[in-house]
Symmetry: C2
């Protein structure tokens, strides 16, 4: 399997073609960003940790009957994924109030929600990824009604599985962001990454933040924090 | 029927009790506000026009089989309404992109939407009436799932009837805001007002604004504009 040409480079990952395969070669980068890219820093080791954590999580989800675009880990910073047409959406699931949800709706951070909430956001850096509702998703042709329903169902199934895994690792899954795509068969697959960059993870006993909020709020070094998440998840498989 | 004590005074209306009746006495005020009350002006004649326009519209909707809290017009600035427990929600229906929809989602003002869009907003001045989705409505206990569904259905029925009426008056109904409440029987009723303060209305031929945007954007005097809307609607009944 050969690494082809660069197809796309984003804030956190670079994607390369894999000639003669419907697969992509992903390189996780060390760049950390906050505030829609307003703040950028290179943090050595971050790409590796997110690649390893995402690989562990996607393998776990697959074992729970939830397929994703993930095919295999290639190295500490690289993985192979199935090529999918991405929905231009971010799907957020919330179990506990935090972040923009708390600020916008006046619900204290840490309030446990009576049931998980799914939110859609339009992926558009220029518009600051605005929050949208189901009617916007179909009006903007981001997905049709059946797909909206399937995305919500999948997001809640993934939430159920992830909560179980993180709970065993003594971590509370506060909220997280997912992205989805459709493969060449038209099957909707979980895509992108699941890592402390895309989840809010609080230590179950201390409520210490084990996620990107440490970078967003400048409260410490993210590397030992992300390493702690990786260690706890890896431990579960032993 | 006697006017009792003041129960509530808002930006645009004052509500009084009506002793021994489950009704309220509403006085429409001349105050105009924009930017969540940041800008306030008293505009003589505005209360009268909104009361008369709302009365015409609620009577029309009733004739179309859509009940509301409206009972009768008392004077040029007063009406009697049925007392309802208000949902703490604003329900917005959009037919054509404009205002915050255009700004937030990057859709040019004037773009006709493939189908009407319903949006919910939490009524909370301190939070600037944030946009919310169906899951937020139930999580925040603003309405239950069946009520969410009924509010959306009613909003679309009202849109259908209003579009028909405004079209006959050579006015394009761009978008509008509704509020609902439940009466003592638990029936969900359309409430509040429907006027150029709560609708975007564009002249069908010139696209001239016939609504509060004239005040928001300081492009002229609203009194002749609101009078024009009243005259065109009154003309339909002749």
């Amino acid at each position: 399997m050969d690494k082809g040409h660069l197809l796309y480079e984003g804030k956190a990952k670079a994607l390369y073609s894999i000639p003669e395969q419907n697969w992509l070669w992903v390189e996780y980068k060390d760049q950390a960003t906050a505030g829609n890219g307003e703040r950028k820093e290179s943090i050595s080791g971050k790409g590796q940790l997110n690649n390893l954590i995402t690989s562990v999580i996607f393998e776990y989800l697959s074992s729970e009957g939830i397929p994703s675009h993930f095919i295999k880990k290639l190295s500490d910073t690289e993985q192979v994924i199935e090529k999918v047409d991405m929905f231009n959406l971010e799907v957020v699931v919330r179990n506990v109030a935090a972040g923009s949800f708390s600020r916008r709706l006046g619900v204290s951070e840490g309030t446990v929600l009576s049931k998980p909430i799914v939110e859609f956001y339009l992926k558009d850096d220029d518009l600051n990824d605005p929050f949208i509702n189901d009617a916007h998703v179909t009006a903007l042709n981001l997905a049709d009604e059946a797909e909206v329903s399937e995305l919500k169902t999948k997001a809640l199934e993934i939430n159920h599985a992830l909560k179980k895994m993180f709970d065993k690792a003594d971590i509370t899954l506060i909220d997280f962001k997912l992205e989805f795509g459709k493969n060449s068969d038209g099957t909707i697959l979980l895509a992108d990454e699941i890592s402390p960059d895309t989840c809010r993870l609080w230590d179950k006993n201390t409520n210490n933040r084990l996620d990107k909020d440490v970078f967003r709020h400048n409260t410490g070094d993210i590397i030992p924090v992300y390493q702690e998440v990786l260690d706890r998840l890896t431990q579960l498989n032993k």
